[in-house]
């Protein structure tokens, strides 16, 4: 690399300055525009371009080929006979070959997400949101989608264990009996540790148990515990409350370190509601406005109209400024004016990483603005017993150390791994004479307990739970327990007497006493919700803000600790789909890193000079992090927009006993979590590590298979305007500068290919609204689940071989210290004149009558010419046998309607052609046309913000045709005349005209009018 190509961040800034914030860019490497990067980009699969290390001579080649031909001859034997095994008594309403859907609910940190589970011959294969459920409204998040893989995971615990050895449930009961009898006698020493509980049945069981054993105690702990939210509510209103929000009524939203669109209870509903006020359609008069004040870049911060990167310790100060109504910061001052202009129609929301004081101040602000009762809804807690979970755990550890705990039942969770490090939970646990752990996996905690009881997955058992607004759902099983699991109700039954009761009987009898007669019960199960069980809004007194604490502005680097966006607190570590899912902002897979901003990284010497040789985002440097006496070596990652002097780590990685997939992946950052600072604090020191190995490979997918960076700015891959700009010039996205025509679809007039008439057929098409995409990844993993997409592992991701059919491109715009972020999901464009088709030597990719660009796996010989010729880079190649054909447990998980692809085959998005065909056949059988909305693609179904619309473009009344007629509709690289069926709606933001810097930053908004 020549010297003049090595840029440092100052030069980056200068370069962006030259462009006056006009240009979009995707990564720092792209911005550097080094020769290496350009060369890297010119290659289709750069990692494959290396020549064989040891040459193969002609003689050896002939030998191998000869052997292969001989083998092929041998292999061409007859197909072995298959068996068909019918039922003895076929269940009613079960039609072999047709899926059946059941409503149930998945809980995450106690909160129910209503799901509809697709079941093929009683095998759950796919999870969707339940449209009737208030939290999901039919949408789904990555955890819900991926939970089906957890169900079949062969690494799940399969047997009761005593000291790690195989035992039986009966032996456990026998061992438990004396312990229970002893507890009954002296009434103390029995402790139960659960995660957050919202289940009314479980709550009743626990309450009954505590009544039966007056000396027993119930503790709760979960690493993602929302303690600060609860305590903030208590500070403000004098008691524990639960808050949820109605974003449909909010014109102005201020997020204080909150990622409410992508994380936390109700985020799917919030994303739907918030974005419903942001869609620009014909006749839209106004859209809402979002301010975000946060440290690390979150999904919510990314789509905010104004984002203020600040240190976590400054957030309370900003909150108090908003409460006081005056600020020296011009952005905050404008924000305050905006809030005050929208009394009763605004929301201020703080994230769970913020302190209780911040939450209390936020309640006071909402109370002052008259939002409480309109946009901010306060109810009784949804938890059965709201507690400060940290205090609860501390009490347990204290008692264990004091020898006051004779028996401990840990129901779910993994406290030996995820309890705050300074409590030394594991050490205290060893002092308990009888300890049993009930969990899905034989994990770090099970390993330290006398007894381990395998838990049932939520798709295998009965239960109930409350949603983010309190609505109760019944959890019903889709399949009998695969691995001898026991439900939590059965384990509690074993303690409290009621051993013979199954989970079904427990849940059924609880609800039978509460109006659940048989007909009603069946209706609840069918709908997935118990109607009218949302908690009523309670009248609360005006919130009192806590007294001003003496906020000392912290110096040095602050550490921010958050749960991982894809594997949560570590519980999904053995889930390959979630491990390989690119994390929303960094696009890193299979790892956790120390995220810092560009300015911070320069401070400890990780300059662009250092970074450029590690180009392509494939490798990075190790740094030594020292924080409150803990020293840790972590790979560093520079993320534009990260607040200065803040370093962010995700916890959940570094598992040792999660299973084959998750063991030894990433770095365990729990030792950085102290009980007095669960979410981080000041006093971190970072230095570049000089210890070998200094370099660490990171599987970041940002620059994988993406459109040529030279085109990013010039060709308008992403088009954006302010709402004001849009009103002045609605056709901004059609600027001839982008070479687009009025239809936004391209035309055959200037095309060399002969036109094909689709008018009497369906013309399947998709529109993706980039304004409302939060980059949450719901679509990516829904696609993976629907289409049997294999995972490839970290090493293969580094070689750019990941197989996700749908990727979300991240674009930055402007200043690298605080850029705007844009997300653009890119599936196959289904070009009408697809460049991939003419180059295939075996016609494995061809056009369907509906205009779909078909990929025929059984014809593909793997030349990869098609991928080379695809300007959008949406084709994926199976370099190896990635699909697991051998593990029996994974076979029933796959979608039987989609081929499992093997080695040497190209694959890509099909617009879910299996769903299209099913829809068409159903319509044909009934002798009618396919109705609009009848065929829904997996990505569309998952999307919480309804950013993806799919349908028949020929039907002018269809939603998709109407969106395509909008002036903001544009196609990617439309000047190539590929006539893509997938088009985009330009991104429209709503910056506050009163905020000057944003104006000057983007003074040159060119053709935005």
């Amino acid at each position: 690399m020549s010297d003049n190509n090595t840029l440092n961040f100052t030069e980056f800034r200068a370069r962006i300055g030259d462009l006056r914030g006009k240009e979009f860019w995707r990564s720092l490497e792209e911005l550097s525009r080094s020769d290496v990067f350009d060369e890297f980009f010119a290659q289709e699969f750069p990692q494959q371009a290396q020549p064989l290390e040891k040459g193969v001579d002609r003689r050896n080649f002939m030998k191998l080929m000869g052997a292969s031909v001989a083998m092929a001859g041998l292999a061409a034997c007859r197909q072995p006979a298959d068996a068909i095994v019918p039922y003895v008594n076929q269940p009613e309403n079960l039609i072999p070959g047709k899926p059946v859907y059941f409503a149930s609910a998945m809980t995450l940190s106690g909160v129910a997400h209503g799901v509809l589970v697709e079941s093929h011959m009683n095998r759950p294969t796919k999870i969707e949101g339940n449209p009737e459920h208030p939290t999901t409204l039919g949408a789904s998040d990555p955890f819900m989608q991926a939970s089906v893989l957890n169900l079949y995971d062969p690494d799940r615990s399969q047997v009761v264990r005593r000291f790690g050895d195989t035992a039986t449930w009966g032996e456990f009961i026998a061992a438990l009996q004396p312990v229970v009898n002893a507890a009954r006698a002296n009434g103390a020493g029995l402790r139960i540790l659960t995660q957050t509980v919202t289940s009314p049945t479980l709550g009743a069981q626990l309450t009954a148990l505590l009544a039966q054993f007056p000396g027993a105690k119930w503790h709760q702990w979960e690493a993602v515990n929302r303690d600060t939210v609860r305590e903030g509510g208590r500070l403000a209103f004098g008691r524990y409350v639960h808050t949820h929000y109605d974003f449909t009524k909010a014109n102005v939203v201020v997020a204080l370190g909150s990622d409410f669109l992508c994380d936390g209870p109700g985020h799917l509903r919030y994303a739907r509601d918030f974005m419903s006020r942001r869609k620009v359609r014909s006749g839209t008069k106004s859209i809402n406005r979002l301010y975000s004040i946060e440290a690390g870049m979150s999904g919510t911060g990314g789509v905010a109209d104004h984002r203020l990167p600040v240190k976590p310790s400054q957030i309370e100060d900003f909150a108090r400024q908003i409460l006081a109504g005056s600020s020296t910061n011009p952005t905050v001052q404008a924000l305050i004016a905006d809030l005050q202009g929208n009394r009763g129609a605004s929301v201020v929301i703080a994230g769970e990483e913020q302190s209780a004081a911040v939450h209390a101040v936020v309640h006071a602000i909402n109370s002052q603005l008259g939002n409480i009762g309109t946009t901010v809804l306060v109810t009784d807690p949804i938890e059965i017993a709201p507690v400060n979970q940290l205090a609860s755990l501390q009490e347990l550890v204290r008692d264990m150390n004091a020898g006051a705990v004779n028996a401990l039942l840990i129901l779910g969770g993994n406290p030996a791994f995820d309890a705050p490090a300074d409590l030394q939970f594991a050490k205290a646990l060893d002092k308990v004479p009888f300890r049993a752990h009930h969990s899905l996996y034989y994990d770090e905690t099970s390993n330290r307990c006398h007894w381990h009881i395998p838990e049932v997955h939520f798709l295998e058992t009965w239960g109930d739970a409350r949603a983010h607004d309190g609505t109760i759902s019944i959890i019903q099983p889709l399949i009998a327990p695969l691995y001898n699991g026991r439900s939590v109700h059965e384990v509690l039954g074993a303690v409290a007497g009621g051993l013979e009761q199954t989970a079904y009987q427990t849940v059924r009898s609880f609800w039978a006493a509460r109006g659940g007669d048989d007909a009603t019960w069946r209706k609840w199960l069918h709908d997935g919700v118990i109607p009218n069980t949302a908690l009523p809004v309670v009248a609360v007194s005006a919130a009192t803000p806590p007294a001003t604490g003496n906020q000392q502005p912290a110096t040095g680097i602050e550490l921010e600790i958050r749960h991982d966006p894809t594997i949560y607190d570590g519980r999904f570590a053995n889930n390959g789909w979630l491990q390989e899912l690119p994390k929303p902002q960094t696009k890193i897979t299979w790892d956790n890193v120390l995220i810092v901003g560009p300015r911070t990284s320069e401070k400890f010497g990780y300059t662009a000079d250092e970074r450029d040789p590690l180009v392509n985002e494939k490798r990075t440097r190790f740094v030594d992090l020292s924080y409150r006496g803990v020293n840790m070596r972590l790979p560093v990652w520079v993320l534009p927009g990260h607040a200065e002097d803040v370093a962010t780590v995700y916890f959940g990685y570094g598992r040792e006993m999660s299973g084959k997939i998750g063991n030894g992946v990433g770095f365990n950052t729990y030792p950085l979590r102290f009980s007095d600072a669960l979410h981080g604090g000041a006093g971190a020191r970072i230095t570049l590590s000089e210890e070998a190995p200094r370099i660490y490979p990171v599987a970041c997918t940002q620059e994988h298979q993406s459109i040529d960076p030279k085109l990013v700015g010039e060709r308008g891959l992403i088009r954006s305007a302010s709402f004001e700009g849009f009103q002045q010039n609605p056709n901004f996205a059609k600027d001839p500068h982008h070479g687009s025509d009025v239809t936004g679809h391209g035309s055959h007039d200037t095309n060399m290919y002969p036109p094909y008439d689709y008018s009497d057929k369906h013309a399947w098409a998709m529109v993706i609204d980039t304004s409302v995409c939060t980059g949450c990844n719901g679509c990516v993993i829904a696609c993976q689940a629907e289409n049997n997409i294999a995972i490839v592992g970290k090493d293969e991701v580094v070689r750019e071989r990941e197989l996700h059919w749908l990727r979300i491109d991240r674009y930055f715009r402007g200043n690298i210290d605080n850029p705007e972020v844009y997300h653009e999901p890119v599936p196959c464009m289904q070009c009408e004149t697809a460049p991939c088709e003419p180059v295939c030597p075996v016609e494995a990719t061809s056009h369907s009558e509906d205009g779909l660009n078909d990929m025929t796996y059984n014809r593909c010989v793997g030349t990869r010419y098609c991928s080379n010729n695809c300007p959008y880079k949406v084709r994926r190649f199976n370099f190896f046998h990635y699909a697991d054909y051998d593990t029996p447990a994974l076979k029933p998980m796959r979608n039987p309607d989609v081929t499992v692809r093997t080695r040497g085959v190209m694959e890509k998005c099909t617009y879910c052609v299996q769903r299209i065909n099913a829809g068409k056949i159903e319509a044909e059988k009934q002798g009618r046309k396919v109705r609009d909305g009848e065929v829904v693609t997996a990505c569309q179904q998952a999307c919480p913000t309804e950013a993806i619309t799919f349908g028949n473009m020929n039907d002018k009344t269809s939603k998709v045709a109407q969106l395509k007629a909008l002036p903001t509709n544009y196609a990617l690289l439309e000047e190539l005349q590929t006539l893509p069926r997938t088009t985009y709606l330009a991104n429209i933001r709503n910056p506050n005209p009163a905020i000057a810097p944003a104006k000057s930053e983007h003074a040159d908004r060119g053709h935005e009018g």
Partner: protein, 215 residues
């Protein structure tokens, strides 16, 4: 200098060159023949079954309709193999002591399903649906042959893609009236005129794009 090769070498080399082309052609022809042969397609091969169930006996004799056992043929991709209980509907009362039926009774007694050997097998990358074919007037016998004359069922058609496309390219050659779909002995008298008319009436489309079956 003497010639190295005799004059006859000219003829020999010509024969070899032309021969090579014909030999290559012959080899390809043989391969083509093999892949279309029952050795590859399993056409016409009887499979031993757990119970030697005779379609001839049940269909031609008492005239049981196809759908009595293959219940989902009109609603699902899979026609359905009857559960043991369907057999026992009759065999609880007739032939109750037949030795041949002992596996059926045993299955019903013990709840252990009968394991049948699959006769018609398509590769995993082909998605065939019975329901739409039945709805569009493709007779059972068109693909499965005269099941009513088979003792042990065998695969009457080669099930090659070439064979599928034969009908997909020209459905009018095979379509029959819907009410005749389950009629084993239906013979079209005027297929030349009836075929195109039915194709029009039923809205039968000639589906030859790849994703009609491969996805």
């Amino acid at each position: 200098m003497a010639q190295i090769f005799h004059r006859s070498a000219n003829t020999l080399s010509r024969v070899t060159i032309f021969g090579a082309i014909f030999i290559a052609g012959f080899v390809l022809w043989v391969i083509g023949g093999i892949v279309r042969s029952p050795y590859f397609t399993n056409q016409g091969i009887h499979r031993e079954q757990v119970v030697p169930f005779s379609h001839q006996h049940h269909v031609a004799g008492p005239g049981i309709d196809c759908r009595y056992c293959h219940t989902s043929v009109e609603t699902s991709s899979f026609a359905g193999i009857p559960p043991t209980s369907t057999c026992m509907n009759c065999h609880a009362q007739i032939w109750t002591n037949a030795e041949m039926l002992e596996p059926v009774r045993a299955s019903f007694r013990t709840g252990k399903p009968l394991v049948w050997s699959r006769v018609h097998r398509l590769p995993d990358f082909v998605h065939f649906r019975h329901d739409i074919h039945v709805a569009k007037g493709v007779g059972c016998a068109t693909c499965h042959g005269r099941i009513d004359r088979m003792n042990l069922v065998y695969q009457a058609s080669p099930l090659t893609m070439e064979w599928c496309l034969d009908c997909h390219r020209a459905p009018e050659k095979y379509i029959r009236p819907r009410e005749e779909v389950f009629n084993m002995s239906y013979v079209a008298r005027n297929q030349k005129t009836l075929g195109p008319e039915l194709v029009k009436r039923y809205g039968v489309q000639s589906k030859t794009h790849c994703s009609a079956c491969h996805y």
